[in-house]
Assembly symmetry: C2
Homo-oligomer: 403 residues x 2
């Protein structure tokens, strides 16, 4: 008999638009071209030594399953972390360790959404949200934010207009990947009012919490734990904060007891998160404040160099990133995907070029973001200055070619 | 407005029947009772030194995302492993690293099943299969196997009778957790014939491959990679083989190109499996054959001590485990769950007792397995001898009390 069909999802789960550029980047490298990677959001900062020491002094004789909820030492360290942030009203039972923030978002959606339910999020958004929402068989309802507004949320009536009987949750990324926007208290208050009025879950992805500049303060949904205990779901991650991307550790935090019970069952079904990773990360309460201070100062320098440089390029519109380490940039081109590919296949400046992420992958609405790219400032200042120079020359050449 | 309802799955995902006993075990421990844990399948064997050395000599300065498909060094080591097993027809493109075997089974089901589709599996089965099938919104169709047959599969006509238009896959665990059954070539051939005839996917969970005794050989579905390239999905894991349960590393292996592409997209959406874990596990090609030989000999001794001991207890029926490190045991009691709880709450023998896993959690059909428990032989021979002695005395007392 003919092979049975694969599921619907296999025909719809998107390929990463960044991923599609990888073969061209590899070819350029083979041709001796050096590539400045502005396309990825992986910090180049070193992991705190006290964490790496936990590896180097490893004394366990085997690598057993960890506790399904999370290793006690890590949970305790996290309680101290949240207390220091001003949230002393959190107990061990409000925490569930996940394998990265990714698993946390996926579980939040699966626990709240029936197939066909709707999840509101602000576009441009983190690409993988599409995959997670698809896995829960819910539908993503995008609300557009604009570069002219630095990608802040639109007014209340525009948001409320999108709510239907099927709306289950608002998914927020604060500070935001890919825009670098930090949502202030008045915005979060407004979103929470809407959520409370309509009984919606608020899933807040705050994995870039520490990465804020110029005294900006992200307003955490943790401030609503008591006012809206059933509806607030915080998604956190240790990846960016401690340069532990490959440790695959995140946190789900909620005061909704039923939800925490379900998260634990999801966790038990996949047994545990990594044992080694958790014992490395458990050192987080021993990381000195000066580590963060140094990291943030470094990113702030990079941000300034990048944004100032980009704004000097004719025709480029660059939003003002307030947090995370990304910025969305509007280019004087019709098709930024084509330009991003061209940078790898047809251009080099003294055998050097840059790789950027076309922004269409961050939008759900067709046609949006076509002339935008996302740039991550995870390279040192010198490399960023050179990248801006290359981008400037490339744009000049590309615009000439296209006219 | 009232809070929106959580999803259907939150009312149906089962709690672990073993988990429910944990508070009673904790209380017994507080009362000074020592517990022999026959309820869990975590090897007490040490991880190979060459792997632990990779931790102790850690030299990376940060913990970056790993490659989404898997770290090249680990994939290369795995190719050597499969080649040594006799399967040289496997390339890098046929492999996808997963976070444990759990993720592999979940992804296989999500990629093959629409909501409402049916997945055939043999009961008793590994409890978590229920959660994975539920997450894909498919339906588990159990085919009963019996202790009298050592839990081998029934004849072809009985299996074919369960196939409907909605059947998408057969999910097999070989060697089997929880029964210890090793499916021989004629059984696997028969299942493959059925699958090929009806165009079904065969998802074969072979994470206990090396754990076989008395010269028994498990017949891998890898033997069908060429005969049925579109339909065979192997789920593998490094957890048990190298005592790396907490490293959360598994493998999905298939020659179905579309499926491998989808698995990669699932992987990209959660970025990567653990970087540290993969660099530890990549040493697997340097683990000496003597390591396995020692491990298997040790388990074989334990198996003999346990099975011979249990069979001497009046009224106990013990199947003959051929692989893995579990055995299903029929007890002379009406309600094995009650007995398992009683062992922790009301019984001790010189301040010692045993903890066993009630078998109802391994069955989907209501009423089956009520007088059965699963026992894992992951303790040393001395501890197992003492456990059998305790169990024997406990049964005597319990049967007297109940009559």
């Amino acid at each position: 008999m003919e092979m049975k069909k694969l599921s619907w999802i296999t025909d719809h789960i998107p390929a990463s638009p960044i991923r599609e550029l990888v073969p061209f980047a590899e070819k350029a490298k083979l041709n001796g071209v050096k590539i400045y990677h502005l396309n990825i959001g992986e910090p180049d900062i070193e992991t705190p030594d006290v964490m790496l020491d936990a590896l180097r002094s490893w004394s366990y004789k085997s690598v057993p399953y960890a506790n399904s909820q999370g290793e006690r030492v890590l949970l305790q360290s996290l309680l101290k972390y949240y207390k220091k942030l001003g949230f002393g009203n959190i107990g061990i039972d409000n925490l569930q360790i996940t394998m990265g923030g990714s698993e946390g978002i996926l579980w939040s959606l699966i626990a709240t959404c029936e197939p066909g339910d709707e999840v509101i999020t602000f576009e441009p958004f983190y690409t993988n949200y599409i995959s997670y929402i698809m896995r829960s068989r819910a539908r993503l309802v995008p609300i557009r934010t604009r570069i002219e507004d630095n990608f802040h949320v639109p007014r209340k009536s525009i948001i409320e207009r999108t709510i239907t009987k099927k709306t289950k949750a608002i998914l927020l990324c604060n500070p935001s990947n890919p825009t670098g926007t930090v949502f202030a208290q008045d915005e979060v208050d407004m979103l929470m009012q809407i959520a409370i009025k309509h009984g919606l879950y608020v899933i807040s992805d705050e994995v870039y919490r520490e990465f804020v500049y110029n005294g900006t303060k992200p307003y955490s949904v943790l401030n609503y734990l008591e006012k809206y205990p059933e509806g607030v779901i915080l998604v956190d991650s240790l990846s960016k904060r401690y340069s532990l991307c490959g440790a695959r550790l995140g946190v789900l935090l909620s005061q909704n007891k039923k939800l925490m019970q379900i998260f634990l069952r999801f966790a038990q079904a996949r047994l545990s998160a990594g044992f080694i990773d958790q014992h490395v990360a458990a050192q987080l309460d021993r990381v000195d404040d000066s580590y963060f201070k140094g990291v943030i100062e470094e990113y702030d320098k990079r941000r300034t160099v990048l944004v100032n440089g980009l704004r000097k390029i004719p025709g480029v519109v660059c939003s003002q990133p307030e947090g995370a380490f990304y910025v969305i940039v509007k280019l004087p081109v019709k098709n930024a995907s084509h330009f991003a590919k061209w940078l790898l296949t047809d251009f080099h400046e003294h055998k050097e070029t840059v790789m950027v992420a076309p922004a269409t992958g961050f939008y759900a609405t067709k046609g949006l973001g076509k002339d935008e790219v996302r740039i991550a400032y995870v390279l040192n200042v010198g490399a960023l200055e050179r990248s801006v120079e290359i981008l400037s020359k490339a744009l000049k050449e590309y615009v000439l070619l296209s006219s």
